[in-house]
Structure formats: C-alpha cells, structure tokens
C-alpha cells in the first residue's frame, strides 16, 4: 500500500496542472501575506506604526475593566495632543478602543484639535466614556483580558483568505486524481490489476488527502511565520476575543482567547478541507475529464454560498451554514455559531461540534462512496 501511495503522490506532483497551480498559489499567497501583514493598516503612514503599536500594547495589556479603558484613553489623548501633528504615529490600538468607548467618537478629535489650537489640552474627564457594562461585554467568572488585538484581527483575515486559496488549490489537484486516469483511458489497465480496484482507490484517497493536509499545513505554517515576524512573536494570544474590539464580538458568549479562536478556526478549516477533498474525489471518480471534474467540484464548493443569498432563514439556511464556504471567515463562524437564529443550537460549542461532526460524516460518506464506486467500476 505504501508503495502505491508513493506512486500516486508522484503522479500528483508530476501533473502539469498541479505544478502550474502551485506556482500561481505561491504568488497569490505571497500577495495575501504581503497585503495582510505588510500593507496592513497598522503600519500607518510613516511605517513606524507597528513599533508604536507594540509600545502601546505593552503598556495596555492586562485585565480588561473600566479603569484600564480609562488609562488607555488617557494615554491616547495625551499622546495625540502632545506630539507634533506631522510626526504623530497613528495609534491603531487606542483608536479602536476610543472608537468603541467614547460616546461621540468622532467629535473628540475635533475637540482635541480645537483645544490644541487654543494652546490648551482636552482631559479625560472632559470626555464621556461608556462603561464595559453599557456596551454589553460578556462576563465570565474570570475577568476579560485585553492585549494585542489588531494584529490578531489581521491574522484572522489572512487565515480566512488562505482558506479560499487552499480550497481552490486542493480542488484543482483532487479533481485530477481519478478523472485524469479516466481521460487517459488508463482505467482498463489499472482496474484489471489485482490491487487496482481496492488498494489503488484507497491509495489515491490517502495520497490526495495527505497531499491536501500537506498543502494546508505548509500554507498555514508560512502564514504563521509571516505573522510571527509581523506581530513580533505571538504576543496577544491570551487576549479575550471579546476585547478584540476591531471584530466587535463584545457579546460573544464563550470564554475564548485569541489563540483558542485561531485554533478553532484552523480546526474547522481543516475538517472542512477533508470534506472538500472527499467530495472532489467523488466528483473526480464520476467524470471523464479533469476539466468537467474541476467545474463541478468548484460549483459544489460555491453552491451553498449562492443558496444563502436566496434562502436567508429556516432549517435549509441553517444546513447551508454548515458548509465551509459559509463559515470559513473567522468572524462569520464565531457570529453564526453563537446564535440559534443562524444555526441549530443556541450554544456556540454545540454548533461547532455539530458542524465538525457533519463535515467528518461528509468526509467518510464520500470517501466510502468513491471506494465503492471504483471497486465496482465498469466502463461504459
């Protein structure tokens, strides 16, 4: 079996479509990482934004309470009013906090500018700040923690974008696995060998799945590496997801930190990817050409998204939300799965587990269907 898997892997690697797709994917990945991390809003205008952001984060990390918010805002308006306007670094961390907590978020900048013009300074006591309770942040036994969140939001955006890239690359590769042999008219030869129906099919499924996992892990590793450089490590990992005010998940009902969210997102994507692989392999086993296989598999991958544009409520809508295309963006799956209105249960973890179970079931069903089909395959 190992030998056959090895040959099947080689067949994938030597395929011209794969080689072309890999080159293009690497270019797209470079683009996603560059735009996601190195052209991020955090850099500001003068490219000193990241350095300034980390200085602010260091001072601001800790228990998330009204006092902490006040401290952050105090430093923010001090910094805003003390610096020369032309040399002022954009403090995205505090800006997001200000945007969330200052009652009339935009007016405060006018007030500070006017005060500065008059040689005066606006003080924190002159600003109306909302309390954590007023905004409605979720409460748990342990207090929420605030820390670096802007960079993590960028990581989530990149993670969401690379899922699309990985999915398309994997569909492109997996659609070749069976249909390529069919189009070459190799089936009569392969399927008339002793192991050509059972072990070969299993080997093809293993090779395609293994290859897809490899692509998934490699691309995520590259993304994490780029994030590590961008974020100066993994600082902020233990920050509560509710305090990632850029994402506006203040009321998110589960006590999760940013690393948990990232882990869940990757796990969900991973299981979704296995389902995509299985479905694509099934399509590949039923079509006579890689191109038609690609079109059908891509269509099936995108179909749930199209259908949710037509069906926006009810059990079918809930079912459609189980598919990867509808829940791959990090913010979307956190939002969708935390309410019964969008999903099946009124409990995030139950919805998460249900989604994973359904995706694993899809994986098993379609892989088994491929096996059965090839075991009984007959030329027409």
């Amino acid at each position: 079996m190992k030998t056959i898997v090895k040959y099947e892997m080689e067949k994938i690697q030597q395929n011209k479509t794969f080689i072309g797709a890999l080159v293009i994917s690497l270019l797209v990945l470079a683009g996603i990482l560059y735009i996601g991390f190195y052209q991020a809003q955090l850099y500001g205008i003068d490219r000193n934004g990241v350095e300034h952001y980390h200085q602010v984060v260091e001072k601001s990390t800790g228990e998330f309470n009204d006092q902490k918010v006040k401290e952050v805002l105090t430093n923010y308006i001090d910094h805003y009013q003390s610096d020369n306007v032309d040399n002022r670094s954009f403090d995205l961390f505090s800006w997001e906090i200000a945007n969330t907590f200052i009652a009339n978020g935009e007016d405060v900048y006018d007030q500070m500018n006017n005060a500065m013009k008059q040689g005066d300074k606006l003080t924190i006591d002159q600003i109306s700040i909302k309390s954590i309770k007023e905004i409605g942040f979720a409460e748990f036994l342990e207090p929420l923690k605030v820390g670096s969140f802007v960079t993590w939001k960028d990581l989530y955006n990149v993670t969401s974008q690379i899922f699309l890239l990985i999915s398309i690359l994997v569909i492109l590769v997996c659609c070749l696995v069976f249909s390529s042999d069919t189009s070459r008219n190799m089936n009569p030869l392969l399927l008339s060998t002793k192991l050509g129906r059972k072990q070969l099919t299993i080997a093809k499924i293993i090779a395609a799945t293994f290859f897809s996992i490899l692509v998934f892990l490699s691309i995520h590793a590259l993304s994490l590496g780029a994030f590590f450089i961008y974020n100066g490590g993994f600082t902020g990992w233990d920050t509560s997801i509710q305090t990632n005010v850029s994402m506006e998940l203040f009321k998110f009902p589960v006590e999760l930190n940013q690393l948990h969210v990232f882990g869940l997102a990757v796990a969900l994507q991973f299981i979704g990817l296995l389902a995509i692989v299985a479905l694509t392999l099934y399509v590949s086993s039923t079509t006579r050409s890689p191109f038609s296989s690609l079109l059908i598999a891509l269509g099936l991958f995108l179909l749930p998204k199209a259908l949710t544009q037509l069906i926006k409520r009810g059990p079918i809508y809930h079912l459609l939300n189980l598919f990867p295309i509808n829940n791959y963006p990090v913010k979307d799956f956190l939002t969708l799965m935390s309410t019964e209105k969008e999903f099946f249960f009124d409990n995030f973890m139950q919805n998460m587990i249900l989604t994973m179970v359904v995706l694993v079931a899809i994986t098993i069903i379609f892989n088994f269907a491929v096996y059965q089909r090839m075991k009984q395959y007959q030329e027409t």
């Binding site: 070459r184 008219n185 009569p188 399927l191 008339s192 002793k194 192991l195 050509g196 030329e379």
Partner: protein
C-alpha cells in the same frame, strides 16, 4: 486451465456489440480476427472485468470471473488499446508501478521488470521518461507490463500497432516463448502476425463469433474461392468494381489480380491457394465495400 464464455451478449441501448458469444479456451495462443467495430475490444474488456456483459457468463477454471474477480485479476495480464501513459514516469518506474498494483513483492518486481524490459528491448531506455519514447517503444512497454505477474491469461488488444517488422518478429518470439501453459488472446489487424503465432483463430464479425479453428483449417473453408487472373489495364476499373480484390500487381500493360469470389471471375482465372489475408477479406468483405 480453461477460460469459457457462455452466451455472452453486450448491448448498448439498441446496439448489440456482442451477440451470444460462446467459446472455451485452453492453454494456447488465440488470435482474434475482426474488423473495426466487430466487438474485439468489447470482448476483451468483458474478459478483463472492466465491462459487464448484458447476459451470459465468463468463467475461469469453472469459477465466474465476476464472483471471483480478485482471484482472476491476479492471474490476468491485460494490454488495452489506446491508452496514454504517465509521460513523466520512466519506463522502469511505470513497470514498478504496475508491479505494485499486481501485488508483486518489491525486490522480485525490480528483477522481473528488468528482465521484461530486456526482453522487449527497452533496457537501454528504462530510465528515460515515457514522453521521450516512440510509439513502438510505448507499445513494447505495454506488452511488458501485461506480463509482469506471469499471467495465466494474457489479453493483448492490438499489441503490434506501431511496431516495425523487426519489433514484430521479436514480439512473436516473445509470445511463443511465453505461452506455454498459458492462455494468450490477441487481436491485430496485421493478419500475418496471427498466422505465425496463433494456434487458433477466432473470427468475430459484427459481434458474432463466425468461426474458429487453426489458420490452416479456416483457410481451407475458402479453398476454391481465391483466383488469380491477368487483365488488360483498360478493363481493370471494371474488374475492381465487380469483384473483391485481395491483391493487384502491375506487369507492363497488364495487371495480375487476386480475386475472392465463389464463382470463377474471368474465363482465364486460375484457382490459387488461399491465405489468411484472403480469409480476412472474405469474412470482412463489407468493410472492403462489398
């Protein structure tokens, strides 16, 4: 050892590709003679288990090959018609891949693949990519892969396509040396190949097994139907229109025609000894426009 087909029919909607075909084969070399569309490939695909017959049974040693497909596939070697190789595999790698699919132990596979590549004259190019092989080389590789598992039943669909005369001689010798205690069935349009190596010929016409037997016996069935006559060139067109011509040879202003006809085609026509090519034309005269 035996391979038996009983009342095998294959139909696609209203087209009957094979019609109630029955025969029993014991070890030996069998040549399947048939024109394009006569059902040869369909028959081979049914025997190799990649196509299901509509009715009838195929048994190997009295066991239904569909019910015992795993066991049958392990003693089967098959060279299908018209398939594309993996262009970036080398000849050796392709052989090893097929050996793995035939469940042959890795060390034994290497030895066996090398032996076969030598036998078919590809040992020098075994490490070259298949995309660099000529048509004849690919065909020899196909023949070699079919023999990796030393099959009891070897099916070769058009094995001599693309082979030059020297390669065809090599192929015939290879099959002859290989066929002891084995059932070898091959189809080819080159009737001389079959004539040389087949112990028996099966004539398949429009999905029906019309005849079978050693070539000498089959040829005897058209004894008295093959004629040679000399015609003047101005009468040649009329003769070509009226008769089934198996050969024509120009000699000055006259042409010697070899004609297949139940009746004497011309007053000066003389009966000649029939060949397998004449037999082919006799059976497949419709393909020749008669």
């Amino acid at each position: 050892m035996e391979l038996e087909l009983k009342n095998v029919t294959k139909s696609y909607d209203d087209i009957i590709a094979l019609n109630n075909v029955s025969f029993r084969l014991v070890p030996g070399v069998y040549g399947l003679l048939g024109s394009n569309g006569s059902g040869k490939t369909t028959l081979f695909r049914i025997i190799s288990g990649v196509l299901k017959q509509t009715t009838g049974t195929v048994t190997h040693n009295r066991e239904d090959i569909r019910a015992n497909s795993d066991a049958f596939r392990s003693v089967l070697g098959f060279l299908p018609q018209d398939f594309s190789y993996y262009p970036d595999f080398t000849g050796m790698k392709f052989m090893l891949y097929i050996a793995a699919l035939k469940g042959i132990n890795k060390n034994l596979a290497k030895k066996r693949c090398l032996e076969l590549l030598t036998l078919v004259g590809l040992e020098d190019v075994k490490n070259k990519k298949i995309k660099k092989y000529s048509g004849g080389m690919k065909q020899r590789l196909g023949i070699a892969q079919a023999m990796i598992n030393d099959p009891e039943v070897l099916i070769l669909d058009e094995p001599t396509v693309g082979l030059d005369p020297k390669e065809r001689v090599r192929f015939r010798n290879l099959i002859s040396s290989f066929s002891k205690n084995k059932i070898v069935i091959l189809s080819t349009h080159i009737v001389s190949d079959i004539e040389y190596i087949a112990d028996e010929i099966l004539v398949l016409n429009k999905g029906i097994l019309e005849n079978r037997g050693p070539s000498s016996v089959l040829i005897e069935t058209i004894r008295g139907y093959v004629w040679e006559t000399e015609v003047e060139n101005d009468k040649l067109d009329q003769m070509l229109m009226d008769h089934l011509i198996s050969n024509q040879k120009h000699e000055g202003n006259r042409t010697v025609l070899r004609i297949i006809s139940i009746e004497k085609p011309a007053p000066n026509a003389k009966q000649v000894h029939p060949t397998l090519e004449d037999l082919y034309l006799y059976y497949f005269r419709e393909e020749a426009g008669r």
